[in-house]
């Protein structure tokens, strides 16, 4: 009752001729496989792009931290100097520097405009630090800051990084979920097409059983046809979608935050797995449908 997928794909003219060609189900299978592969390429691209985005956000915010010092104006410079001295002796800190007035003005400009009198405002001072590998002990640094400069607060960007990484991770999961749904829909639609073809060919199946055909022979005739159609359709859909993905404008050129929906490097090879995966789905779905149908016949 068993037969292997590679053997199935070997040409068998006799078995092919036994089942009459069925135009409608042939086109339906071809179209379904092509459409689903097309959508799967985009879902795959979305999933991969989300992964890159998550990595990029994480790496952009990782490795840096900010210390905000709020103190009465007369103590501000003292505490800044104390913090810088403390950082200079803290293991795991690569560089540390206090932002000057112009830099703070530039940070606030998007919200308050260019004419903000930064000097006249009681703004906290900011110290930007970069980590050395393998990083510093943030809890230990917080305790030391509390002792040396009570107005200093360490912000290691965890508050920002975590939700952004989570959002990108969920986007990646959404892409993976879409792929699973597409696979399920493909199997369901090919099953429907196979059931339709099997029902239309019941008289043929009865004749084959009558003259001594084993179930495996009959199943092979249908499964081979649907598997090859699904493989062809998926190949068409994949090539079409990959072409369109390649023609998408590159977001990097516009300086956008997104890295673009395209594939990168070996990522271009992943969509090429879709046609064989769709063929395997079609093989399994048609085989199950054919054996189910034959079970009802003597």
């Amino acid at each position: 009752m068993k037969f292997a997928l590679p053997a199935l794909l070997a040409p068998d003219r006799q078995a092919d001729r036994v089942v009459p060609p069925s135009g409608f189900t042939a086109q339906l299978t071809l179209f379904t496989a092509a459409a689903m592969a097309f959508l799967a390429v985009f879902a795959l691209a979305l999933s991969l792009a989300s992964g890159r985005l998550a990595d990029r956000w994480a790496s952009a915010l990782a490795g840096t931290a900010t210390i905000r010092i709020s103190a009465p104006p007369e103590q501000l410079d003292t505490q800044v100097a104390a913090v810088l001295a403390l950082l200079a002796t803290t293991p795991g800190i690569d560089t540390a520097r206090a932002l000057d007035t112009e830099e703070q003005r530039a940070l606030l400009e998007p919200w308050f405009g260019p004419d903000l009198p930064v000097e006249a405002l009681p703004l906290p001072r900011l110290i930007e630090l970069t980590e050395a590998r393998p990083g510093y002990d943030s809890e230990g640094l917080r305790l030391r800051l509390a002792a040396e400069a009570p107005g200093a607060v360490l912000d290691d960007h965890t508050r920002w990084r975590r939700p952004m990484a989570q959002a990108a991770e969920r986007l990646r999961l959404l892409g993976a979920l879409s792929l699973i749904l597409i696979a399920g829909s493909t199997a369901a639609m090919i099953t429907l097409a196979a059931n339709s073809a099997l029902s239309a060919n019941l008289p043929v199946i009865r004749v084959l059983r009558l003259v001594g055909a084993k179930d495996a022979y009959i199943v092979r005739a249908f499964v081979r046809r649907f598997t090859l159609r699904a493989l062809s359709g998926a190949a068409i859909g994949t090539v079409l979608a990959m072409t369109l993905v390649a023609l998408l404008p590159r977001a990097d050129e516009a300086g956008a935050f997104l890295t673009g929906l395209g594939f990168q490097g070996f990522g271009w090879l992943l969509p090429l797995l879709l046609p064989p995966v769709v063929a395997v789905l079609a093989f399994a779905a048609t085989r199950a449908a054919a054996f189910r149908t034959l079970k009802g016949l003597t």
Binding site: V18, P203, V207, V211, G212, T298
Partner: protein, 223 residues
Amino acid sequence: MIAFENVGFNYGGGELLSDVTLRLAPGSFHFLTGPSGAGKSTFLKLAYAELRPTAGRVSIFDRDARMMTRDDVALSRRRIGVVHQDCQFLDHLPLVTNVALPLTVASRAGDAQDLTALLDWVGLGKLADALPPQLSGGERQRAALARAIIMSPDVVLADEPTGNLDWDMSLRLLTLLVELNRMGKTILIATHDMNLIRQAKSQLAARVLRIQNRRVQLAGADL
């Protein structure tokens, strides 16, 4: 070959066949007769395991039909040639391919060298490439017979094979079946054509069975 032991069968309502005991010996020639709806076709279907008995036991080549797997049934049908009244062809394939179908499904298509001789034997040599819908009733019946014997089966079962044929064509088909029997094949023909039975009995020692009151009995001397 094929044996019925106290076989009963019903389609879910009343019993159609009851307590049927019969053995088709190798090389025998049987007619099965009875009124329409008596159960002749059902009897044949039990004989080639399209139906399973609801009581008793049908043995096909010494195997209990109820214990046979689907593959066992398929293999047994390669040793039983069946001729249906409606012939049952694959209409999209030419006659020669239809006749060779049992060899094709048995992956023995290479054994089909004598196809031309076989088609000539049933008088269809010139119609090898015709599609089944293009054939007359008699031609279809003879083609069905050719398909039934291409695997050189041990048993040939024919269900009303002359039902749609004129007398000359019926005689021609009977002659073919008699020839097969002389080659050692076991033949069972379900028919209500008494003239055909009388004609056959004039040529060979055929047993005539009659389905009456749900039972299969040996027919009397009225034939």
